[in-house]
Symmetry: C2
Subunit: 559 residues, 2 copies
């Protein structure tokens, strides 16, 4: 092999922060954090913490020294159970910078799963947000290998016994630190998928994957954020690197705004206005809540004004067309959809439709905006039939979505069984069913296990849900399969009304769906109304729970 | 070392084209090429060749097969002496896709240097543009190892003996090809620097460097081009990968417009209008010519109208402030400056000042726009004193500009002497003298060898030249050192008048420079007027030739 004359230059996370502190020292990192509790409502009261890349740097260096002093070795997992704040940001950089792994634990999981994850990853040190301090005794009990617990933020009742305050943990250490040699293929971060079945499965990110993912995210066609942007990632830092934003924004020198527990639409809009936020990222439920609040405030004659806000980056599950259309048509906001998974770091596809792009008709524009988009550079998608044969694009046929690329996992950490179940011929099986059109635009049809098989034909639950959530009476809709003697399975719609006093008939919903190109045989056989649809910790519908609840459901005979 | 669970995924050039043909099949690659000669003026007549990513692909595959059939082995250098056209584009992708090296030879070099380069690189096959076919006998004579010569384009007098027409060379081969396994550190391309001293020195780019360079270039803060852009790289494909544009534009699916010999301002503006060009890239002399033509046409009442054109990307040498200010203030065009070298693939820095960015006063905006800008991600800059000690940023002090990064060369091909002279402690010595301000904004002061040492103080020739070229009477200005008995060296200004009939006095130029913050002791001692300033093949002032011409020059005693 004829080698190039290029320098050997490793792609590493420390270089991301080092560049930002030199080129954008005064760019801010803003954290909206609880500073007390409202005595009347018991709700947390937000306060604004303000720092800069330059001021963050000595603290990250202190944290590096503190980690080393605490015995953290290269390759060790450093657990975090923390919110979106500057302290979590510091951990995002410090842990990989000492050659260790920033292991973000999903704080919304049930305790047994958290204990499983801490034990499986073998975390010896854990950084835990003050508001979760009550869990510490249980963590000690169920994950006894966690030797050091560091608490982020003030604990009113006093620090739990045997724990250390974060500021004390880092405070006495030097503000300079010499990075070790880092190989770009070394593990830098870790997340467990909060799958709906089986034990959580761990993915180890590499320095290389994070750097490549950040660079790619910066492309004009993808996130397109620059050093003049102000980015508010509502997506939690305890889940898939907060979609990589802490790294991506730092790489380009953007201002960053973190919201800890304050993810309600009113606070989001107030802070967006105060801080000049240009880009906000979150899951569809956040955006649906935002739309409701924007509509409400406008109707009340007191509209929210955040003139800099222009783009909402949405992913994590399907975004109802009605939500993106409402945000765009009534509030001038551009919803840009992406698709990804814990196993894909996460960016896999991005929708290329731009705010200023012209369409013959706005309905077509919203159709186009609703798609998951195209595979990003360094990522490849294909769809396969059940025998693992590649399906051609552009036929309308759906298949199992397979992905491979520079930041796609090739295995699960210490889990040969789950690895074998999902890796095939160098491709990762996403477990999603998708179509890919002739120009590579991917559209998730369903999770493989959520598809409804009726008389040998597939019905997409996601498609029905998205349409139903466009009906003015309906806030949330989940569609699940119900066993049927003749057709094998038939769809049941589980609905949450916008106003419990205003119901809607099946006849009306049939009419509504038929008008939106749903075939007659795809119409749900029945609807059930509930107060709330159970959700996973990251905001997706927990269909397993619905299937359990309705497992003995009998469909009306009229079907 | 704890490895991540990420897939092993090589960063390779074939993946760039493969993505484009699947996602942007109908995006065009337009080439404006000579289709004849005007009988009256003998000037070439332009014709438009139009293809797409989808249509290019089978031709690239044919070319891959043809290269293999011609005996090209992995690692072999495939020489090109060619213009900016779709055929050269095909070579850019095909040569690396078979594991070989696309070796772009600078066609403007003197024959001895071309022969040196062909022999040093040991090219066995050469693709040569039809208009250079006359050189073939001399190439055969001086570079006898070139066994196969393929001619790009029709030769009116018939193909030279023993050569092959490009279309015949590829025509009979299959349109499918299976890429070999490619290691990302494998050489993919090669350029020799057309330095002003010594033999040309070769740099071998890698697949990895090209992919990383392309990804980084796409950032919103850097080129910021998207799939909706139409990019016209005037910078030649025979020089530093045409700044990487063929790869960068393909990676994002942009439309590309190549101009072969038609780099005059009138044709540029006509094609920009016809093809909807949004971004045009070239050296400062191209942009100065463009400004002259835009001014002329406006004054004549027949202004050029290319409403989509918004950004001019300029690099290669210092851009006179007057040129960028004129393009911006009189024609609404945003000049975005970058800095780089053959040794840096080339992107090293980019100016972050944006068209829509507000400044207190427009003069300050132009000052800011004139800088070379900030180091891009994965590239690091430092300045050193003569003893190799790093100088702090923001002091105003200038030093030797050193660079390292993911696409910076770590050596010259088969040239230990030149390598040793330029590589120090893992950094590449650019040979430039530069300042870096407190926020990392780099400004080239001079080539180290062009600095003028007067009484122990340095005078920047580049700075004087840029100011002088802002004077309305002056088209071009080069400043060189003249030996001086008292001060060691003093500056001489060599000027080209805009209108030979309208001269300008030294007193007037002194006043002009003093008004622009040039110190009295830095003023040139004298001026000489010439018809033309000799230039290198890539449009930089050839100061070596000026120094030779004026080596016995005696400065007036008044100094």
């Amino acid at each position: 092999m004829l080698e190039s004359t290029m320098m050997e230059y490793q792609l590493t996370i420390p270089s991301i922060l080092e560049r930002a502190i030199r080129l954008f020292p005064d760019q801010e990192i803003v954290s909206v954090i609880p500073v007390g509790v409202d005595p009347a409502t018991k709700a947390p009261v937000p306060g604004v913490h303000r720092t800069t890349y330059a001021k963050t740097h000595p603290r990250v260096m202190q944290l590096c020294n503190a980690l080393v002093a605490a015995g953290v070795q290269p390759g060790d997992r450093v657990g975090t159970m923390a919110l979106n704040t500057y302290r979590h940001f510091e951990l995002y950089f410090a842990a990989p910078s000492v050659g260790a792994v920033c292991h973000m634990v999903n704080i919304r999981l049930p305790l047994e799963q958290i204990a499983y994850i801490l034990n499986h990853a073998d975390d010896k040190i854990l950084f835990i947000e003050n508001i979760f301090a009550g869990m510490i005794p249980l963590i000690r009990q169920h994950a006894p290998n966690v030797a050091t617990i560091v608490v982020l933020g003030f604990v009113p009742g006093g620090l739990p016994a045997g724990t250390v305050d974060y500021e004390e943990f880092i405070g006495l250490h030097p503000t300079t630190y010499r990075y070790p040699e880092i190989d770009e293929r070394q593990a830098s971060g870790m997340c467990y998928t909060s799958g709906t079945t089986g034990d959580p499965k761990g993915v180890l990110y590499s320095h290389r994957a994070i750097v490549l993912h950040s660079l790619t995210s910066l492309s004009a066609d993808l996130l397109g954020v620059s050093s003049r942007d102000v980015v508010m990632p509502i997506v939690p830092m305890f889940h898939v690197n907060a979609w990589g934003y802490p790294y991506t924004c730092t790489m380009t020198g953007a201002k960053q705004v973190y919201m800890s527990v304050f993810t309600d639409a009113v606070t989001i809009m107030r802070i967006a206005a105060e801080e000049g936020v240009t880009v906000c990222a979150g899951v569809p439920t956040i955006m649906a809540g935002l739309l409701d609040e924007l509509d409400r405030a406008t109707a009340a004659g007191t509209p929210h004004v955040a003139p800099t806000l222009r783009t909402l980056l949405v992913g994590g599950s399907a975004t109802p067309r009605s939500v993106l259309a409402g945000l765009h048509s009534r509030h001038g906001l551009h919803v840009k959809i992406g698709w990804g998974m814990t196993e894909t770091t996460p960016l896999g596809t991005a929708n290329h439709v731009m705010l200023d792009q012209q369409f013959d008709d706005v309905e077509r524009k919203y159709d186009a905006m609703t798609c998951s988009g195209r595979m990003v550079p360094l990522t490849e998608l294909r769809i396969e039939d059940d025998e693992g044969r590649e399906l051609p694009w552009g036929t309308g046929e759906s298949g199992r979505l397979m992905v491979r690329g520079a930041w796609v996992t090739g295995s699960y950490y210490d889990n040969a069984e789950a690895t074998a179940a999902t890796q095939r011929n160098g491709w990762f099986d996403t477990g999603d069913i998708a179509t890919i059109d002739a120009l590579g635009v991917m559209m998730i049809q369903d999770r493989a296990k959520d598809l409804i098989k009726s008389g040998g034909e597939w019905i997409s639950s996601v498609d029905l849900e998205n349409q139903l959530m466009g009906h003015p009476a309906i806030r949330e809709a989940a569609v699940i399969a119900i066993a049927h003697p003749k057709w094998d399975e038939r769809p049941l719609g589980v609905l949450v009304l916008r106003d419990p006093a205003v119901s809607v008939s099946k006849a009306e919903l049939d009419r509504f769906l038929l008008e939106r190109a749903v075939a007659k045989w795809q119409l749900p056989d029945a609807y059930e109304f509930v107060d709330e649809i159970p959700k996973t910790t990251v905001g997706k519908f927990l269909k397993r729970a619905l299937r359990e609840r309705f497992k003995d459901y009998t469909l009306p005979v009229t079907a």
